[in-house]
């Protein structure tokens, strides 16, 4: 071994010893410095035996810097919930489109004779709920999907005010939804009580499968299903929304997380359902929108889609009375029809 070999051997031995000393024992200076990051984050996440932190901020879990369960929920919301919500909300219009292409619109041969279907209060209540619902759906979907749709398109700086505006608008209009929902419920519930014929109607798909149009009263099985879905999911949506509007009143963070899940799920279900409702009310069935716009429907429309209600109207002489008025070329306004009804 030459001198160079000896020097290399000594140097390696020194380095090896120094490294081992640094790993196993405190440095020779006598001050042992632990890894500050590990302990800091362990304390922040309150793992192991958490010591209660103190803060002057009043609020739910305000003495907790990072909530691990909350982080898990956030991941679940971003990776699962939003993805499946997107599938549903994109899938339903596609299904409706396919249905329309295969089935086409249900045609109406106008008879020229009108029946009063919805009075002014029915219509105002319906459109109030519809307006508020559409606004909330739009702002809610912006908040739900904005990070994935708006941010890549317009950037974070543009999305920031959009998100803030959506949140403020959504929070402010939320209670109006509850008011409108209760109003609609009270006005329509008596006409939406379930009956056996509604089951038959649903089993036959409203006549979409099997040709003959199934029998229906004032509302058919599909409309009743929409009404009760709206009532149940709308109530869940409103109550969870109110809790999210006033989070400081929530008894626990877990309840807030549950409210977020319920709010999101109920909203997505209702928005998906509303696509079908909007389709049936406009392009799907001719003459339907007229009922909610002017209050009146064509007698043939009533006979075709709501035969039992039509028969009831004929029995009570409503159709004949209105027809006479029309034959006399009287200007029949909805106001006059409403007087006839009462």
């Amino acid at each position: 071994m030459n001198a160079y070999g000896l020097l290399w051997g000594l140097l390696l031995a020194l380095l090896s010893t120094a490294a081992q000393a640094q790993n196993d024992t405190p440095p020779q200076s006598g001050i042992w410095i632990p890894n500050p990051g590990a302990d800091l984050w362990k304390a922040v996440r309150q793992r192991g035996q958490p010591e209660p932190s103190t803060t002057q901020v009043q609020g739910l879990d305000s003495n907790q810097l990072i909530n691990v369960a909350g982080e898990k929920f956030r991941d679940w919301r971003r990776e699962r919930f939003i993805r499946y919500a997107a599938y549903l909300l994109a899938g339903v219009p596609v299904v409706i489109l396919l249905f329309h292409m295969l089935h086409g619109a249900m045609k109406l041969e106008p008879s020229g004779r009108k029946l009063l279907r919805f009075d002014l209060y029915d219509r105002v209540a319906h459109w109030l709920l519809a307006t508020v619902f559409l606004f909330l759906a739009f702002t809610g979907l912006l908040l739900l999907f904005g990070r994935f749709v708006i941010v890549p398109w317009l950037g974070l700086d543009a999305f920031s005010p959009i998100a803030s505006a959506s949140k403020e608008g959504h929070n402010l209009f939320g209670p109006l939804f509850l008011v409108a929902l209760l109003w609609v419920f009270l006005r329509f519930v008596a006409r939406n009580l379930p009956a056996w014929r509604d089951i038959v109607w649903l089993l036959k798909g409203g006549g979409a499968f099997g040709g003959k149009h199934p029998s229906a009263g004032f509302f058919n099985g599909g409309e009743k299903l929409w009404f009760w879905s709206l009532a149940v999911f709308g109530l869940l949506l409103s109550l969870s929304g109110l809790l999210l509007d006033f989070p400081s009143y929530a008894p626990s963070r877990e309840l807030l997380v549950l409210a977020l899940v319920v709010h999101g799920a109920a909203a997505v279900i209702l928005v998906a359902f509303s696509f079908g409702h909007i389709y049936m009310g406009t392009a799907g069935v001719e003459g339907t929108l007229e009922g909610m716009r002017d209050g009146t429907v064509d007698a043939n429309w009533a006979r075709q889609h709501h035969d039992q209600w039509y028969a009831e109207m004929v029995r009570e002489g409503r159709l004949e009375a209105l027809s006479e008025a029309q034959e006399n070329r009287a200007e029949t306004t909805t106001g006059q029809l409403e007087e006839g009804r009462t």
Binding site: V124, W127, T333
Partner: protein, 214 residues
């Protein structure tokens, strides 16, 4: 000049000038025009009739109350809510102090402010829906009525969207719509905010002089 400088500066000056001058001009014209001299023998006092006309019209006459229920509830929700928002919302009180009057007054607490906003939105939506869905009001409504409703709604909506007071863009958007509203105001049905008093008083005085009780 940036858009922000335009909206906060010259456009505000123009809007305020048009609003103040336009409203003053229209009221002056109305008052100066006067009405035809009534030569009939007065059966009762005009002043009492005018006061009755102004106050009494806050409620519909008995025969009409049932038919105007929706209008009445929605009308009060909207007008009281808007009045509270316009003059007692904290951001507005700050604005009046900083940009108009130099002094302020006690604003509404936040919860009352939100409640007033809910009432105003609910009332306005119901009124507008009644306008388009009721065959009678639909028939007598003109484009100016719809424009006034839509503009008022947009003013309220942009204000509501800027509630967080954290984005200058949203404040500017609200302020811009308010300026459009102020410029449109004197030339539109929105003038009823001022003329309703004159109209009620004039009609009440006319009826009062003739001894008609309504």
């Amino acid at each position: 000049m940036t858009v922000a400088e335009l909206v906060d500066g010259p456009l505000w000056t123009v809007a305020l000038t048009v609003f103040v001058a336009g409203v003053a001009w229209r009221l002056l014209v109305l008052i100066a025009t006067g009405w035809k001299r009534d030569l009939s023998h007065p059966r009762s006092g005009s002043l009492g009739g005018a006061i009755r006309g102004v106050v009494g019209r806050f409620l519909p006459s008995q025969g009409m109350a049932g038919r105007l229920r929706l209008h009445l509830v929605a009308g009060y929700l909207f007008h009281l809510g808007l009045f509270a928002l316009l003059f007692f919302a904290a951001p507005h009180v700050d604005f009046y102090r900083d940009r108009l009057f130099g002094f302020d007054w006690t604003p509404l607490p936040h919860w009352a402010f939100i409640l007033a906003a809910e009432a105003a939105f609910l009332g306005l939506l119901m009124l507008w829906l009644n306008r388009v869905l009721n065959p009678v009001t639909r028939l007598i409504s003109e484009s100016g009525d719809h424009a006034a409703s839509v503009l008022t709604f947009l003013v309220m909506l942009t204000g509501c969207l800027a509630l967080a007071r954290s984005h200058e863009t949203l404040r500017l958007l609200h302020f811009f719509v308010v300026e459009l509203f102020m410029i449109y105001f004197p030339f539109s049905r929105l003038m009823h905010s001022f003329t309703f008093l004159l109209s009620r008083a004039a009609q009440g005085a006319h009826y009062g002089r003739r001894g008609v009780r309504v």
